[in-house]
Point group: C2
Chain length 432, copies 2
């Protein structure tokens, strides 16, 4: 894992180092994803390797390996947290996490007070969401909270399941999560822009949007609509913080804000107390609360992020977190646009430049995913890239066309650099 | 929290120390459960306090407070894990738990290898379940795994939801979990002993049973039946290990085996690979995996338990874990039966004595819950005990009569002792 740290100070130089020198690193990385073929529909992970790699530093072998950018695994952040050394280390004694209960005075009785405090502190620092008079509900990732919100908002005695919609392209997991148990409470009804019924509905508004990074507002505008805002990416490394969000239900996750996907912690800011209580009830029924250990770790990490701004004296050699993330995303988007602009095979969306109230800087959204379009004769972009050993997620899974793919931009640096090299080559060849 | 350790060496003496001396401890403990009134249907937690406690060491105040034994919060174990000192301490660095993935070579890609190893090691030590040729699936508590099993076992294209049954008295959360989303895949059909349809069904077999501690086998014996075994309490502190279980799907949880409920980790041993894969899929869809931090902690704790038997030299002053738990449960059941035998107001089930293959000792099941029956004129046992400030869960919630209540026996020692004192008094008064 030290390979990341080793290359940190030489980011610019790395770009011009030949592919041959990188081959060993790339091979090591791809080896980690190796061993057998497997595929999962929900996240649509696909990792393919025909034979087990034996460590030979051979370029042709390296480019034979698949690069998996199908999922949004935020391994980009590992190098930052390694720099932090012991500052984010958490020590847990064997007698901790015995009781189910974290705070019997809170309606969300499994919410660790230190996590709630860290969430409030970070939102107040960044200014991306109101917390005053909001109720915090913690969940096993924002995925569980999303289901909790549906449970809380859909009446249990309605004659028909509630319609759930989101404007295409929408997050590919929404239909899977919503319909997996064939619930009588709610039903996925697809693209919000095509939904115009007079009946009650819930519209999911993801902003910046997964997969395409667009800044979004509700599109249905029906009278019986309830909105759930997924703000997983509304953090200053990805997009300018142009206003303090104050929606009824706002979902966040550490996976994309701090990069700790394996912690499985998300939180909801909920305006209505009764909705927060019903969301809590869902999490109680479905998992009897949320890991205390993970909440304590998340609290520590969120607090250290705030410290990188409020106690800068402690962090003389480490950049403040969001500034680091913003620079890294800017660098990656620059590489990506440069590769795409080498020819006419691909295109990318443009994003308007805005002022970020948090950093004071002006920049355009630089999303965690690229929503890449294949132009000209390439009809099926996912298959085309797969043929060239780049695994991405097809636009069809997001309610869009197969001309599009979603590509994760937040993987390990070595993997990302190898992807850029392959894309540049494809782009400049003007295939097919 | 030090109060538990302080009193550890004097367990026998404590039993004869007057209630007045204990009052301070009880008050401190009850204070922790204080603050406001709240009730949750899923776990049916009820904690009531009319006014906030201010620390007065006053006996009448202490007996005025409610004792909450409604839920199975395993705080009894805290004192044991405190004795262990640093042996179970886990240190987590800030750069851990970044990736979603734990083991891309395993179909359960979010399963930490060290946790899988510790599970296998402990089952092999205790002899309570086969692990050879089983697939391990980890979940956010066994609650999530139970839902994963239903998802895996119910066909998605059946015309009618699958019937789910369990013999009464059954775990009170089963109906809540199964029916909360009005799934079209499955439906709660209640008491297995009243179910005799020819259609496909799933029977949940909990053994030892929650709430009544009985050792169980399937009761329906229909041709189209699938069994799911919940073996949360099949550990040698609660019951003799009389055979090595080798059912198709077996669910376990650290909450009841080690006492770490707040970790929210359970595991399933699954015979059929395709079922294990579908269970994995459910957990992927519903929470994109399971906390890595909690898995690492659980691995450490399970390993230390095995060490208390396999490396006894390291633990000269600490009893091996299951022996400690077995002694503690025996002590509590002795106290309980002694209190109940003071009169004719209450009765308890009896359990046959069997040999435990793990410890070599002969004893009867000493369940984590008492299934108490109110005799004579007391028709509603839960209300009767509530009147006397003991909160329990009514038999009606387990598909049984209101003459019964389920009482947790695994709470903090001070709380338990106070409960025994109150019950003794009620019992000897022969109320009403």
């Amino acid at each position: 894992m030290m390979r990341n740290q080793k290359f940190m100070p030489a980011i610019k130089h790395l770009l011009v180092i030949s592919i041959a020198i990188n081959a060993g690193l790339v091979l090591k990385l791809l080896h980690d994803n190796n061993g057998h073929e497997w595929a999962t529909n929900g996240m649509n992970e696909v990792r393919v390797a025909k034979d087990v790699f034996h460590g030979v530093q051979n370029l042709s072998r390296a480019t034979d390996q698949y690069i998996n950018l199908d999922h949004g695994d935020p391994t980009m952040y590992e190098v930052y947290w390694k720099q932090m050394g012991d500052r984010t280390t958490l020590v847990l004694s064997g007698w901790q996490s015995i009781s189910y209960f974290s705070d019997t005075k809170n309606h969300c009785w499994f919410l660790e007070p230190s996590f709630a405090n860290a969430v409030t502190r970070l939102h107040n620092l960044v200014g991306n969401a109101q917390t005053r008079s909001y109720h915090i509900v913690v969940g096993t990732g924002s995925t569980q909270l999303f289901q909790a919100a549906l449970y809380a908002l859909c009446p249990s005695n309605a004659p028909e399941p509630m319609s759930i919609v989101s404007a295409a392209p929408f997050y590919s997991s929404y239909p899977l999560i919503i319909d997996c148990l064939k619930s009588g409470l709610y039903k996925w009804k697809g693209d919000a822009s095509k939904f115009n019924k007079g009946e009650p509905y819930i519209e999911l508004v993801t902003s910046p949007n997964n997969p395409d990074g667009s800044i979004r507002q509700a599109v249905v505008n029906g009278s019986g609509g309830i909105l759930v805002h997924d703000l997983a990416y509304y953090w200053p490394q990805y997009t300018p913080i142009s206003f303090q969000a104050d929606h009824d239900i706002m979902l966040f996750t550490v996976s994309k804000s701090t990069g700790h996907a394996g912690i499985r912690i998300g939180w909801a800011l909920v305006k209505d107390k009764e909705v927060a209580k019903k969301m809590t009830k869902f999490i109680e029924i479905s998992s009897i609360g949320v890991s205390k250990d993970s909440q304590l770790r998340a609290a520590k990490i969120l607090d250290v992020i705030a410290d990188t701004y409020e106690h800068t004296e402690k962090f003389d050699k480490v950049k403040p977190f969001f500034h680091y993330g913003n620079n890294e995303m800017a660098r990656r988007w620059k590489q990506l646009r440069s590769a795409v602009n080498k020819g006419q095979t691909f295109s990318l969306p443009d994003f308007p430049v805005e002022k970020c109230n948090f950093s004071g800087q002006r920049f355009g959204t630089q999303p965690a995913f690229a929503w890449l379009k294949c132009e000209k004769a390439v009809n099926d972009c996912e298959s085309f890239l797969r043929k060239h050993k780049i695994l991405t997620r097809s636009g069809t899974q997001f309610g869009s066309s197969k001309r599009y793919v979603r590509i994760s931009l937040i993987s390990h640096k070595e993997e990302y650099d190898e992807f850029i090299q392959r894309l540049s080559l494809l782009s400049s060849m003007d295939t097919p």
